[in-house]
Amino acid sequence: MMLSRKLTPYLYLAPMLALLTFVFGFSILRVFEFSFKMVRGIDGPWIGLRNYRLVLSQPLFWESVKHNLILLLAIPAMVAIALLLSLLLYDRLRGWKIYRTILFFPYILAIPIIAVVMKQMFQFSGPVNEVLRWLSLDFMALDWIGSTDVALWTVMMLIIWRESALGVILFLSRLLSLDESMVEAARLDGANWWQRAWHVLIPQMRGVIEFYVVISVITMLSSVFAYVYMMGGGRGGPGTSTMITELYIYNALTRTSLPGIASAVSVMLFVVSLALIYLLFVIRRRDHGDGA
């Protein structure tokens, strides 16, 4: 009786631990191991830091990292758009619920679907450019998909379009949970809409804004594979202008048979992600102290 008492928790834990150990534990250990080996197929000889040295001296790798960093520029735009729209929705004008349903729609469509549609819309001879030319805005009818200078920004537009929708919902639910008395007081004091937003509402949203920024940063660094894979023709094109870290790993694994290299990059990405999550943890802990 006593024995089974002691064992019970572990029995309940066992399936979870087994699954996590296999999917995460095994993988993380193995990816570190592989990063120090010249892996061909299944295994290979130990080569120490060679993979890291090769990758860190390869221009293509740094280009991939640079592109991930450029995507971070999407975040101010996402925050601004999400703030503006959520504040407007918060006014709860007539029909606001319908607006909310529609504004969240971009996040409902899966990335591959929306990327295929956007890719067609932004073809050099496609509908968007046709409209721009018709409006005599020819200088704006860029080669959105085909130009190495523009392609990454096109991907960024798609990311902003989709991820802002998430921001709208996060910010709106925070707003709806706020105490309205302060806003009322400000309005009675004669503050206009913008002043109410800037001085009363936004300060109270600091926590959720910070949270949104941090998860967006993590997304830009490690979860944009689908966007780039679909828009860039599967190879980070045109040229290498949309190559990002995840695609670099994918290519190293599947197209150039270099699991060791892929592992080295995976390890570096892992370490950076952990550092960012730690940052998020610190921020949230600080905010919980503030009563967010």
């Binding site: 699954l19 193995r30 299944i42 349903t101 689908a226 894979y229 952990l274």
Partner: protein
């Protein structure tokens, strides 16, 4: 006051148009014939045709792909949820050594980008012959959704009042019975949210799908779209019809179960 009202409405309406524009393009283009699209890219279809939808609905792998995605989502959610329920119950309501450490480690696993796992798992699966098997992929997906599920359920279970448990123990229930008859029935909202988040994650995933399910017959919807787009990139209205059909399940679910959807997506982002 009225003027600023109209201005605000105008901004919102503009935002809504931008939000819906790609979908409108998608639907309108799917109704145009191949010839019409070459000269009429922007306007309404002059002579709407149903042939593309017909081709997609009756003659394409889309439904097979959706079935595969559904199988994966179902399998992963069932496995992941089962494993997480028992694990979270233990962490939330039992005392044992290492409890907090295990919870901390499990929760921090939420931070690991899935791409980090694919190299070693791909190599292992190749060795074991598990590439392009449903069971292999389901295990991976279940693993990926477990940290978040355990976190959510644990925090939820912890909020349940102690009295419930005390009463059940007095009644002579063992853990199993408590879990099944007391805790789970009360957890339905949290479980539903969890199911939505996790199912969406698996359904929408591309990276794991293209690597671990390479066989034609096992392709998921997302992987299938990437293949389909390449094969039919010169038949744009047909591609758009495919996209409409592919997005239909989620759109229908969204409109029907808006509340759960939104709650689920937000919870997913918090991952």
């Amino acid at each position: 006051m009225k003027a600023s009202h109209s201005f605000k409405q105008a901004v919102l309406i503009l935002a809504c148009i931008v939000a819906l524009l790609p979908s409108m393009f998608m639907i309108l283009t799917a109704l145009k014939s191949q010839e019409e699209y070459t000269f009429n890219k922007v306007g309404l279809p002059g002579a709407p045709v149903g042939e593309h939808f017909q081709a997609i609905l009756f003659d394409s792998p889309f439904f097979l792909w959706m079935l595969n995605s559904a199988i994966l989502a179902f399998g992963a959610v069932v496995l992941g949820t089962l494993v997480s329920c028992t694990g979270a119950y233990a962490i939330a309501r039992m005392e044992f050594r290492g409890r907090d450490t295990i919870f901390a480690i499990s929760t921090s696993l939420m931070a690991v980008p899935p791409v980090v796992m694919i190299v070693p798992l791909f190599v292992l699966y190749t060795q074991l012959g598990l590439i392009s098997t449903f069971s292999g992929a389901i295990v991976i997906y279940a693993g990926l959704i477990t940290p978040f599920s355990v976190y959510l359920l644990t925090t939820f279970f912890r909020t349940l009042p102690q009295e419930l448990f005390d009463a059940a123990v007095i009644d002579g229930c063992n853990h199993n019975q408590i879990l099944c008859h007391v805790v789970l029935p009360l957890s339905v909202p949290a479980l539903l949210t969890l199911v939505v988040v996790n199912a969406l994650f698996v359904w929408n995933d591309l990276l794991v799908a293209v690597i671990f399910l390479q066989e034609d017959g096992k392709r998921t919807l997302m992987a299938g779209i990437s293949v389909f787009q390449g094969r039919y990139n010169n038949q744009i209205p047909l591609s758009m019809a495919g996209m409409v059909v592919a997005s239909a399940p989620m759109v229908i679910l969204y409109i029907t179960f808006q509340r759960y959807f939104i709650r689920g997506l937000m919870a997913g982002a918090i991952k």
